[in-house]
Every structure is written in C-alpha cells, then in structure tokens.
Symmetry: C2
Subunit: 356 residues, 2 copies
C-alpha cells in the first residue's frame, strides 16, 4: 500500500514538498519570535499540526504535474505546498467549529493552548477561549499564506490567474460544504439524502481532489479537455473517498484507522449512511443512541447491525463502487497519458478496496 | 469633520471603492445561491458586515496613491477594496474570539445566524455554535478573497510581489497583536505597560495604517524613502489613533461614539490606560468593578474618576499627543508632496483633536 493509501507512489519530488513545508514553518517560527513567546508557540503548534497527515493533496499536484510532462519542479513544489497548508488551515478551523480539542488522539493546537493556560492557573472557561482564539488565528494565517505561495509563482500571468481561480473555487465551495455540515449537525437544516451527498462533495471533493488534480494539470500547461477530465474525475473520486471514510468511521478496524469506530456514532456525525438510515423504519432502533456521547460499545454494535439491516451500509458501499467505476471509466476513455491513467484508476479502486 | 474622521476628504475615487466593494459581495451572493440558502445568507450577512464603517483604509490607499501621482485608478480601487475586505474579515473573527454577538449595537453576523437558528427551534447552545461557525467561515472567505484581489492586480511583477509582502506583514503582525490581546484578557499573560503598548501597535497600526499607506505608495511607484516614511508615520499615527479609541471607550460621549462608555470597563478591556492604572496605588479602587459585567453607571463614573486621579488618563493623552507630534514632524521633514504632507498632518492632529 502506498504512503497515501490512494495511489501515487512516493517520489523524490514529494519528499521535497515535505521539506518545503518544514522550511515554511521554520521561517515563520523564527520571525514570530520577535513578536512574543505566545506567538512563536502558535507557529510551533501550527507546524506540528501540518505534520503526520497522508499528504494526499501534494501527491495529486506533483503526480499529475510530472505525468503531464511538467519540468518546473520549483513551481510544482510551491503549488503542492500551498494545497497542504490550506488543508492544515481547514483542519484547524474544522476543529474549532466542532469544538474538538483532540486530533488523532492527541491534543490539537486549541487543546495544547488550553492545557497550557490551565497550567498557568487560568480558569477552564478562559483557557478554552484562549485555545479557540489561538486556533482561529493559526487557521487565518495559513489560509493567507497558502494563497501567497500561488500568488508568487513565477509562471505566465495566465497560468497564475488560472491557479488562483482553482484556489478560489476550492475555498468558496468548501466553505459552503462546511456550513452545510454544521447546519446538519446543529439541527438548523434537516439532513436529507441529496443534501448530505451535496455536502460531502463540497466539503471534501473540491479542495482535496478536484483542486490539486486540476492545479497540477494547469501548471503543466495541459489543455482544457485534460483539466475538465481531471476536474470531473476528482469530483467522483472525492465523493467515493469521503463516503469510504464515513463507512470506516462506523465500521472500520480501529487498529487500521487509528480512531474508535464508535466516535462518529457518539458525535452524531451526519453522513450519507445515517441520512439513508433515517428514511427507513429501522431508524427507531438507531435514533436513541445516535449522537449520545455516553453510548456503550454494546449499543454502538447494535446501531452498526441496524445500519446493515436497513440497507444503509450496502447502499453507501454500492455508491462508492459506482462513483469509483465512473471515475475509472472517465479516465480510460480520456486522452490522458497511460501511466497517469493507471495511477488514477488505481486510486479509484483503492477507494473500494480499502473497505473490504 | 471629514467622513473618515481622520483627514483625507471624500473623493470620487473613494466612492468608486464603495461601489467595488458592493459589486464584489453582490457577485458572491449570486454565486453562493447555487450552493444552498444558508450559504447565500452567509454572503448576504458578510456584505452587511462590510457596510457602515468609516472606510479609513481605502481612504489611505487612494489618498496616498493619488497624491503621489498614481494614475492607474482601476488598480488603486482594487487595492483599496482588498484592505477594506481584510478589515471586515478581522472584525468578524475578532467578534468570534471575543464571543461578541453585537457590533455597533445590532446583531453581528454570528448574532444574526444565532437568532435565526433559535427561531427555527434549535437549542441556545447549538444556535450559538451555528453562529460562531458561520462567522468563522465568513472571515476565512474574506481573508482569502482580499489577497486574491492583490494577487490579480495587472501591474509589474515586482510591484505585485511588494504589495503581497505588505499584506503578509499586515496579517502576520496583526495576528500577533490579536493573540497578545487575548492573552491579556484571558489572564494567560500579565498586561505590563510595554507589552500592552506593543499589542496596541501590532493589532491596529500595522494593517489599518502602515499597510494601506505604504501599499498606496508602492502602487504609485514611490521610492524606498517615501515608503519608509509612510511606514513609520503609519506606525505612529496608528498607535495614537488606537490609544485615542481606548480613551473614548472609557471617557467618550456616547452620543458621538455611538457606544456606551461603560462597555470597555464592564468587559475588562486591557488597554494602556488600564495597564498604567494597575501600576498605581489607585488600582485598589478600580480592580473590583473593572471587568464586572454588572457594574452600575455610578460605579463606572467612580472608576473613571480613579483613572483620572491616578494620572492614567493624562499619561495616555500625553502619549497620544507625543505620537501625533512625532508623526507630523516626520512628515514635515520628508520630501513628500506638500498636499500629502498637509493631509497626513491633519490626520495626526485629528487624533488629538477628537479627544477634546
């Protein structure tokens, strides 16, 4: 299995993206030192937040760029770094919005600042506010600096503006998806099947798949047909991937996913599988425990069985297979180079394969 | 008194900035309509948040640009718009960080979304989370689109990069100031005089004064000496202005400032005047009521008297006069065009004049 878990094997170029990300944060940590100890701590925590992920988005940017014959490695690295930093920004603000102070089981930036304040004798409420403020500011900074990297690419004006447009779309659509997600989880809107599917696409597919894939192609000077194919492929793959994450969040093996498969049930995460189950008579068996922070592992098992019995699991798994197949077919019917076709089809099939 | 209250009379160019801001938001409201009713509502609320301010930053950008002989009005308008949209973004996130749901006495974006959710039957806690999420996302979007305007300026590469650098500095330093402000208000750090003064400079002077003034000059093709003069002038004026706001926040006439002069005392806002008072024996007369949301107008009057008695008020007023004088002297000794010198000195003296 590749490092990303979704195709595109590690390359020297991708390692250089990792170095560039570290260099970016190291420089900011240094500069922040002149503006106060807490501010330097903020940048150190932001650097930590940028580590440990799968680096999916840089893999897409440089993978597509190289496959399409791009040879301006410096610009490809900068573009890939921008998407990864944007991703870190979104994670930081996503956690603030969800009031999470843990990520991957350890304190996130807000959690670190919060416990630090408590250790300094600050009240729990004020320490919480301090943690949230720090995470909001860190995300703001990273949203800003991500675009700054694209704005400074030394490429043709036309190319730079096209890349800025990709980023605009990524951010504009993702914010809509995130807002819809919160609307469902707070009960402001009813989570109907079609709206939850649209939210899934907007929140994940656009900035994590469509954006990096098309940006890599645009930087490589690809023609409109290639960019359009990758855009549609990214949309399909992104939905398949996120729906797979939703399944793993409920049915996954904790030893593989690294997170408890009961968490999404406890938190009442509104996903397509839940939206489907709501429309069935089995929902009465699920609704009591769903979103109850105190449910036992036994109750979680019972909900999982209900989600299978009512057909929600197989419905979503069928959709994943369908989206992945459509993504592959699109690529095979395209004029993309055969090595890129193989990589993209591999990525699509991994979306299905990781579930079995 | 000019529209901005700080010099630079209204011009046709500034009116065109106002139109450009409206056009920006109108286009986003339209586009958001395709991504859900709540998302469109978010952009409508963001548009509302951008209205009603003094438009200080655009006045600086276009005022300096025109005075230095710039004739690319289109770019000046775009640059000025970027700074104003960044300002709206900061206001939105500042309110989230302070947990404010009112601005200028009416519900802000978070407050509007919160009451809307309550009207839909959502619990108070979840409605609050909905409002906060909406304001975080709106600020994120505006931070992004502000830079996008500068990144798309059709000017020489060197000029665009220099303007991006100004924006980088504005955001990097402002975040440090905002973090320090929260550190003081939550009690994470002790508000010593010199740190509070540094916070004041970082939080306000950089993005609201130094940034717009130097950006206008850079766009006009000014040489390094001019840019440096405006940078230092902006720093001095920005501190004078913010210290003046701090005074007005405690001693101002509600009918003029539009906000209660007891609010800053009730909220326990850590300003230079308070930092000074803390170091005097009079503080024991102030500390009880300061930061107490329930203090009466009589108690507030008593605190105001204490702040005068201990010399805090005159200390800060002296600093304002000093910073304003140094700002004026710097300008008079410079090679800036005389009309610009007059405007800048006028702005500096207004910082003092509005307090009497």
């Amino acid at each position: 299995m590749s490092q990303t878990g979704i195709g595109f094997e590690p390359t020297e170029l991708r390692e250089r993206v990792g170095s560039r990300i570290r260099e970016f944060f190291d420089a900011k940590v240094d500069a922040a030192g002149h503006l106060g100890g807490e501010y330097q701590q903020l940048w150190q925590a932001a650097r930590l937040a940028s580590q440990g992920g799968k680096r999916l988005r840089p893999a897409f940017v440089v993978g597509v760029y190289s496959a399409l014959g791009g040879d301006d490695e410096e610009s490809a690295i900068q573009l890939a770094t921008a998407f990864e930093i944007l991703h870190t920004a979104f994670l930081l603000h996503d956690d603030v919005i969800d009031r999470d102070i843990l990520r991957r089981g350890v304190p996130n930036l807000a959690g670190e600042f919060e416990s630090d304040a408590i250790a300094r004798g600050v009240s729990a409420e004020r320490a919480g506010a301090w943690g949230q403020a720090a995470a909001i500011l860190a995300g703001d900074l990273l949203i800003h600096f991500a675009q700054g990297m694209i704005a400074r690419l030394t490429v043709a004006d036309r190319t730079r503006v096209a890349l800025l447009d990709v980023l605009d779309r990524s951010i504009f659509v993702t914010a809509a998806g995130e807002l819809a997600d919160v609307a469902f989880s707070t009960g402001v809107c009813d989570p109907h099947l079609s709206e939850v599917l649209a939210m899934t696409e907007r929140k994940t597919a656009t900035y994590s798949f469509e954006g990096p894939l098309t940006a890599g192609a645009i930087l490589a000077g690809a023609d409109v047909a290639v960019v359009d194919t990758l855009s549609e492929f990214g949309r399909l793959l992104g939905v398949a991937f996120q729906l797979g994450d939703d399944i793993l969040g409920i049915f996954g093996d904790e030893r593989v996913t690294g997170k408890s498969a009961s968490n999404d049930l406890r938190e009442g995460k509104e996903t397509l599988i839940i939206a489907y189950a709501r429309s069935t008579s089995e929902w009465s068996q699920i609704s009591d425990g769903f979103g109850d922070i105190g449910i036992s592992d036994g109750q979680a098992r019972s909900i999982r069985r209900s989600l299978e019995r009512c057909g929600a699991r197989s419905f979503v798994e069928g959709m994943i297979a369908d989206f992945a197949d459509r993504a592959s077919e699109l690529v095979i019917a395209s004029d993309l180079p055969s090595s890129l076709q193989a990589n993209l089809c591999d990525a699509a099939q991994r979306c299905v394969g990781r579930l079995v």
